[in-house]
Chain length 319, copies 2
């Protein structure tokens, strides 16, 4: 049972693009419904979709904003592949208001299909790529389905997980950062919880909107803003929690990411901010994969994280 | 305030596609994170996304399933462009359980970006096309912004409406019908409320899953199954409500659609089923556009529709 004060959605951000000089052509919208399609005119692109849930008894003043990683949408926070409640539900039950983003190009935000506006092409993810990138096991053990010892991702539901995959571009970071920024400014003071590519995009957006930030949680963020962006003003308002799962040492990619993340944390502290790097095995969650919001102990991790947020993101001042 | 017994989401349906023989290439997922992308392997495509909301006090046994039209996603049922609650909220408050679909290729269902698997290309909609197709006014009056007299769409929020637009293919109808069918079978006995292209797709899926249907509401469906599909078994379980808005006579396209829809209704009745064609101006809602779930009187229309469903879709038998 849920008692919600409100729930709903909105689109925000984006820009207008005008197409001219193209030829019209006949399209069949359905076999019966044809349409002389005119590709010229005004289009709106690069908006962001946000769905929000406000609990009747909100016990923390600042909402959480959940930002998915690459090749995924906001749906990744709703349910685990094996059908347990996702972090959206966990945090609501903990008394947080929760905003879930579909970033530019993903899910209900839509993508830009206009010729020549976005570079590159959308790419899709195989199970084998997920296996390696998300640290379910060693790449060479994918075919045999032999995961890391003790890993906690529900691999029996791999096909269900794959249904959540959507295509991604590799050329849209700037538009995605603007989109997240537009969402943050609309939402106001909040704690941003961002995963993987979302950590890269969200950290840029957070540094550009310090007045909106009461905390930034990066769940294995993949890349960081350059040091010149980390001004004392940009990091004055919000503590940063930099989370990693298990098996990092067994992945050169994620070993690099942890080193770069630690360097970012030091830069935040050097600028007068606060940053804490936590490895989940050290706080009671061994076996955490890159998708730890879906692992078997996802509810325990969200409880730990909710407590961290309550203890660290309450006040504008960090003093 | 909302009291919900439950809410959540799932993906359902789709198929596996195996790609072989393509060359790997280097991608930049973020500027820092490169990846030797292997486009070969197993992909899951053509799944459907469903989000559901179950009220604490459900006062009608069969859930409503809301299926969007072309170039839109399930978000079209959540909010009107001018920020009023959408039909999802209206029906929940009326005591219905509500399931909202993102069909194949749309929203959180994702689309297939694999080369050569889907035909055609995604197309986007301009404001001018929406103006004509959705009957906001005469095409020649778009530039001047002069709508039909008495039309009720919130045109002052046109830009907000455009943010809901997403690309669509014109080659995916079969996959979309399969996707809706998979959702209906997972949900079980229900009343399907489908809009525009969703009427075309939903009517096919409904005829193929008569055991799941307790009613079918087509909001200006654009196209119908061929007569040989309308067997007595296919139409035995559920009454059909075929809704139209206003200004039909001023649009050759929608005049054709109304005529084809009336013919479909007669075929349903000839097969022993029940079908009713209702024009909204005749039941108290003049000025209804093609987007009548967003018009200024959208809440009145959903109230009328909820009552129709209670009065007509209660029983398995139509006797």
């Amino acid at each position: 049972m849920y008692a919600l004060k409100d729930f709903g959605s909105f689109h925000v951000g984006g820009r207008s693009v005008t197409v001219t000089g193209r030829e019209t052509r006949l399209l069949h919208f359905t076999p019966e419904l044809t349409w002389q399609y005119d590709p010229n005119g005004d289009f709106l692109i690069e908006q962001v979709y946000v769905q929000y849930f406000i609990p009747a008894e909100q016990t923390f003043p600042h909402p959480l904003v959940l930002l998915h990683g690459g090749g995924l949408t906001g749906a990744c926070w709703e349910t685990t592949p094996d059908g347990r409640p996702g972090w959206l539900h966990d945090f609501l039950r903990q008394g947080f208001a929760v905003y879930v983003i579909d970033n530019v190009e993903r899910g209900r935000a839509g993508f830009c299909a206009l010729e020549g506006v976005w570079g590159g092409e959308p790419v899709m993810r195989t199970a084998a790529e997920a296996w390696e990138l998300f640290r379910f096991g060693r790449p060479e053990d994918f075919a045999a389905g032999k995961p890391f010892d003790g890993q906690r991702f529900p691999l029996e539901a791999m096909e269900s997980f794959q249904r959540q995959f959507v295509p991604r571009w590799t050329s849209t970071s700037e538009a995605q950062i603007r989109g997240v920024g537009a969402a943050l400014r609309r939402i106001g003071p909040c704690v941003l919880v961002c995963h993987s590519q979302g950590g890269y995009l969200g950290s840029h957006a957070a540094l550009e909107a310090p007045d909106c930030m009461r905390g930034v949680v990066s769940a294995e963020g993949s890349g960081w803003p350059a040091q010149e962006r980390i001004s004392s003003e940009a990091v004055s308002g919000a503590p940063w929690l930099l989370l990693f799962g298990d098996f990092i040492d067994q992945s050169p990619r994620w070993s690099d990411a942890r080193r770069e993340t630690a360097a970012f944390g030091e830069q935040v502290q050097a600028a007068g901010g606060r940053a804490e790097l936590v490895e989940l095995p050290d706080v009671g969650f061994p076996g955490a994969t890159h998708m730890f919001m879906m692992d078997a102990h996802s509810a325990g991790i969200s409880e730990w994280l909710g407590a961290w947020i309550r203890n660290n993101c309450g006040a504008k001042s960090l003093d």
